[in-house]
């Protein structure tokens, strides 16, 4: 009985010993695993972290590039918008110049040509008070042949000045345009003799008259860039239009006279 108990106890003890040994082995295995994980994992994580960092850096760089490109495109857009405005303005200016030129050469009637010059000065340049002067080459005198805004500048309808005298006479003599902002004396006060602008009407270097501007329309503060272009156009095209219409009128008169003579001769014979 005692031996039987001893054997059972021994068997139990052995099983306990085996179990304990097995536990110790498992413990050792796990310790080894922990130790290996402790040595292996930081390196793997670092790699992952480094990869992610590189990716973040790459994305940040890409983001910076996109932001830069966006800025560039924005600048380009602004540039395009500005250029569009410039082209619009240029288009407007060219339309003005085209219409002015077209109208000036649309007739050979002297009064109509003068009327067109007046229309250009009022509607395209925006002048409220102005005069068109022609040079009488026999007397060397500049005289008003058409005017607008006499109430604003009394006397413009009867301007008469000699070539070389005063501002108007000098412009006619030199062929150089005059603008009051070029002359700062007496605060740029406009008088009959000192207008806002005086533009010579010339065929090559030969001056035949002047367009003299005394006041702009109330809604217009100053001359714009296209106004100077229009002045240049007026200087040349209005001059040739006025000159050719005058010649045409004279030749028409002569033709009528000759025709009358011929009619008289044929009826008397």
């Amino acid at each position: 009985m005692t031996e039987e108990r001893a054997e059972k106890f021994l068997e139990l003890f052995n099983k306990g010993k085996e179990f304990t040994e097995e536990l110790l082995r498992e413990n050792q295995r796990l310790r080894y695993r922990v130790a290996s994980l402790e040595t292996e994992s930081p390196a793997g994580l670092d790699e992952e972290v480094q990869r992610l960092r590189a990716e973040v850096q790459q994305l940040t760089e890409e983001n910076r590039r996109i932001a830069e490109r966006f800025k560039e495109v924005e600048e380009e857009n602004k540039d395009f918008a500005n250029r569009y405005i410039e082209v619009e303005e240029q288009n407007n200016n060219l339309a003005n110049l085209y219409v002015a030129s077209y109208q000036l050469h649309s007739t050979l009637d002297f009064r109509e040509v003068i009327q067109i010059v007046q229309e250009i000065v009022i509607n395209l340049i925006g002048a409220e008070s102005f005069a068109i002067l022609l040079l009488d080459e026999k007397t060397n005198e500049l005289k008003t042949i058409a005017s607008e805004g006499e109430d604003v500048m009394p006397g413009i309808e009867t301007i008469s000045t000699r070539l070389g005298d005063g501002v108007l006479g000098s412009v006619a003599k030199t062929g150089e345009s005059y603008y009051i902002n070029q002359d700062m004396e007496d605060g740029g006060k406009v008088t009959l003799e000192k207008p806002l602008a005086a533009v010579p009407l010339k065929i090559k270097e030969h001056v035949i008259g002047l367009v003299v501007i005394y006041r702009l329309l109330q809604q217009k503060d100053s001359f714009s860039a296209v106004d100077y272009e229009l002045f240049s156009l007026l200087a040349a095209h209005a001059a040739t239009a006025i000159f050719s219409s005058k010649l045409y009128s004279q030749s028409e008169r002569k033709l009528n006279t000759i025709q009358s003579f011929l009619d008289l001769l044929t009826t008397t014979s």
Binding site: I85, E88, E89, N91, N92, A95, N96, Y98, V99, A100, Y102, Q103, S106, I116, E119, I120, I122, N123, L124, I125, G126, E128, L217, Q218, Q219, K220
Partner: protein, 127 residues
């Protein structure tokens, strides 16, 4: 109202301004431009077969001025809804107020800027 195929009536005694306005209006695709030299001529054209989509008129004209034309158009049952743009040298605020009070939809002072004219017309025709 369409921005394309629109019929415009330009009422101006100055041929230079008529041509300049017509030139600007050609920016509208297939625009048809009918010209009148004063208010009476404009009323004749308005009673014609062409349906006018917008009127552009000057104020200072012989025979019948632009303000009288605006007033008559607004009193006419068939014409009263046509948008009217006044284009004039009269730049004073009271002139503008008078034109708009008579029924004009827009008031533009000369010298005109083509882009401004196009923008104004586009807004009126887009309503």
């Amino acid at each position: 109202m369409p921005l394309e195929n629109a019929n415009f009536l330009v009422v101006e005694d100055s041929p230079t301004m008529r041509q300049l306005i017509s030139f600007s209006l050609k920016r509208f695709k297939n625009a048809r431009i009918i010209e009148a030299v004063d208010g009476v001529d404009a009323l004749k054209k308005l009673s014609g077969p062409d349906k006018i989509d917008l009127i552009l008129t000057d104020i200072n004209m012989p025979v019948m001025d632009g303000l009288k034309l605006v007033s008559l158009v607004r009193q006419n049952a068939q014409l009263r809804n046509i948008p009217i743009v006044i284009i004039t040298t009269e730049g004073a605020e009271e002139d503008r107020e008078r034109g708009l009070a008579l029924g004009a939809n827009a008031y533009i002072s000369k010298p005109i800027q083509s882009s401004h004219l196009i923008k104004t017309i586009s807004e009126l025709l887009a309503v």
